[in-house]
């Protein structure tokens, strides 16, 4: 797994660059040495167990918390010394949600537009457009507190986009969303990134991120433990699941071919083998090319293979490979 704290040569003036960022709350070291580069025009996933410091890091990036040490550049600006300017270029969506109860969805967005000093004439069509974008147009004039959790979440996303930021920081945006909205969110974020926005998403739903993120940054105990591009994650060694109609035939062939295999979860341990039953085993392969090669060989050997697929998402495997403990 390639560690690339320096990024892939992306323009450091753009996107988000965090260098050796620390932030503690009294004795608690919530963020304890984070190095991160989020490329402009790409979606960067921030992945880590509960208490890893993701939310704290996003607060530092959003300019709400000052880092105890280390430097941060957001769209080329320092959120500590150039706070207000950096804020106008940053959209932030918190994980815990608060809305002004008695305001309607439309009023929430116009208030935020006012707060960013966007002229009313510009704000009005923009707010209408955003409400449509997050599929809340029919709820535009209802009080925000009657919205469902997922609808509030989408309103929060619209709120983070009101001022057309260059950098978008989303703290677990997918939580509470139904599958349809998740797909919409994914498309929306991909479109925004395609338009040149820098998007950072923290999330636990790793299977979502597989298709959403370009890069991934793993955090644990306040530190970035690894960061890699999705291409790297998919090409690094990971488990593939081989389904077969006859376990004994397959395992015998794999052993002959010097390919390390282990029983897939849910199947009896290897000791009981061989027996001539349908089943599956796991093999470690480095990327899709190796997989197609293996498939060709197995088909060539006329083995009763029924399927070959990654055992889990690329990120999930990379995540589990980190073997870091939950806090």
């Amino acid at each position: 797994m390639a560690i690339n704290a320096e990024g892939d040569g992306a323009d450091p003036a753009a996107g988000v660059v965090a260098t050796d960022v620390h932030r503690s709350f009294g004795p608690v070291r919530a963020v304890n040495g984070v190095n991160l580069t989020a490329r402009k025009g790409a979606v960067t996933a921030l992945i880590g167990p509960n208490g890893a410091g993701k939310t704290t890091l996003l607060l530092v990036l959003a300019g709400l918390l000052a880092p105890s040490s280390g430097t941060v550049r957001v769209a080329g600006l320092d959120p500590v010394t150039q706070s207000s300017l950096a804020r106008t270029k940053t959209g932030w969506m918190p994980d815990v949600f608060g809305t002004w109860d008695t305001l309607t969805a439309r009023e929430v967005l116009t208030t935020v537009a006012d707060a960013y000093r966007i002229p009313r004439a510009v704000a009005r069509p923009r707010v209408a457009g955003l409400l449509g974008l997050v599929h809340l147009a029919e709820y535009a004039d209802r009080p925000a507190h009657v919205l469902s959790r997922g609808q509030k979440q989408r309103l929060g996303l619209a709120r983070a986009l009101v001022h057309d930021p260059e950098v978008l920081l989303l703290d677990e945006p997918a939580s509470g969303l139904d599958p349809r909205s998740r797909v919409d969110l994914r498309h929306l974020l991909r479109d925004l990134a395609a338009d040149g926005m820098t998007v950072i998403v923290s999330s636990h739903v790793l299977s979502e991120l597989d298709e959403l993120a370009d890069d991934a940054v793993f955090m644990s105990r306040g530190q970035t433990v690894a960061s890699e591009t999705m291409a790297e994650a998919s090409s690094s060694l990971r488990s593939w699941r081989v389904g077969t109609l006859s376990l004994s035939t397959l395992t015998a062939w794999l052993t002959d071919a010097d390919i390390v295999w282990r029983p897939a979860p849910g199947h009896r341990p290897g000791i009981d083998l061989p027996h001539d039953e349908p089943g599956a085993v796991l093999v470690d392969l480095a990327g899709a090319e190796q997989a197609s090669e293996l498939l060709a060989r197995m088909v060539g050997a006329r083995l009763p293979v029924s399927s070959l697929a990654p055992a889990a998402g690329a990120l999930e495997q990379a995540y589990l490979a980190l073997d870091e403990e939950r806090r």
Partner: protein
């Protein structure tokens, strides 16, 4: 575009926050109920005051100016009392309440400066307090119609009430920036108001022994060897004696910071009663005014105890008649200003120190 600091303020920014706050508040029905209750309570008190002071119980001619001023004074005091009760509820949860609801940080990350958020919230709570004051205006005018009070002093009293309520709102805002939990800031604000109004009075009373001393005082007194002359007047001489005196000139400010004293002291003196205690000056406002000014003057080191009609003794130590209310008002406004300054400091981002047990979001 220049970077705006925490103290940058623009009218548009303040208006955004104020409108947001008021919208949230006005749409809750509680607000209307509170105004109606307030209206009824002030109406009841005004009616009762009239009933008592216009009845035969008083035993004087009810058209005397001091009766009118008493009615006016009581109604104004009651409005101030209610205002001091209500204002803390308008502002004392404005910041920590928003933080708990998770809406504060979403304002902080916008282009609004910390000062705009604080001033916007202060303005909103002050406007709400003024709404209560506006509901009371009819009754203050009715009380004025009882006579003895000029239209000018009604206006100046209303202006003073408005400023005092602004100061109390600001103090509440400061406490709401200080504590994480809303009940704590509400309690602290009420303690602050009680300190200004009641506790300061108690402290004034309790410090009397501490400010008492045995002083050598020149007394103009009846001479011990006095004989009554034909006219029945006393023979008076100067002598020096040690007597116990209460030096209220050291603690008068405890009275002066009291919002009730501020309002009373600022009322213009009645034309009739300018020469000390007279029948024209029996209304509560005048009694308070005279009391606090006497306290400020203190006992001095010369006293006259000889009231002779023929002998002209030394003049009474003159009462310091300069108004006390500017000092009291200044202290109240200063406390409010400190609270606002503190609140802005607490809302500055990026935050370095977090209050224990709070999260930004």
């Amino acid at each position: 575009m220049k970077t705006r600091g925490a103290w940058a303020v623009s009218r548009q920014g303040i208006r955004t926050v104020t409108v947001l706050e008021l919208r949230q508040r006005i749409r809750s029905t509680r607000w209307v109920i509170a105004l109606v209750v307030w209206f009824l309570v002030v109406a009841a008190i005004t009616g009762l005051t009239f009933a008592v002071f216009r009845s035969d119980l008083i035993g004087t001619d009810p058209t005397q100016p001091w009766i009118g001023r008493t009615i006016f004074g009581l109604v104004v005091f009651f409005v101030l009392f209610l205002g001091l009760l209500v204002s803390p509820t308008l502002s004392a949860t404005a910041i920590n309440g928003d933080r708990a609801a998770g809406t504060l940080a979403t304002l902080q990350v916008t282009s609004l400066s910390a000062a705009e958020i604080v001033f916007g919230k202060l303005l909103a709570s002050w406007i709400a307090a003024l709404a209560f004051l506006a509901v009371s205006v009819p009754f203050i005018l009715i009380a004025m119609s009882a006579g003895g009070t000029s239209a000018a002093s009604v206006l100046s009293t209303l202006a003073l009430l408005a400023v005092i309520l602004a100061a109390v709102c600001a103090i509440g805002l400061g406490f709401s920036a200080l504590t994480a939990r809303t009940p704590a800031s509400a309690v602290l604000t009420y303690i602050a108001v009680a300190t200004l109004t009641v506790l300061s009075l108690i402290a004034f009373g309790l410090t009397v022994p501490a400010i008492s001393s045995d002083d050598q005082v020149r007394l103009y007194d009846v001479s011990p060897a006095a004989t009554w002359d034909q006219s029945g007047d006393q023979q008076c001489v100067w002598r020096t004696q040690t007597i116990r005196q209460v030096h209220t000139e050291r603690t008068w400010w405890l009275l002066a910071i009291n919002p009730f004293v501020v309002v009373a002291d600022a009322m213009p003196e009645s034309a009739i009663g300018s020469a000390g205690a007279s029948a024209g000056d029996q209304d509560p406002m005048s009694i308070i005014r005279r009391g606090v000014r006497e306290a400020r003057t203190g006992p001095g080191n010369e006293q006259t105890r000889c009231w002779s009609s023929t002998q002209s003794g030394p003049a009474e130590r003159p009462l310091n008649r300069s108004p006390v209310w500017p000092w009291g008002l200044a202290v109240n406004v200063l406390l409010g200003a400190i609270a606002v300054w503190f609140a802005v400091r607490r809302l500055r981002i990026p935050q370095r120190n977090l209050a224990r047990g709070t999260r930004v979001a």
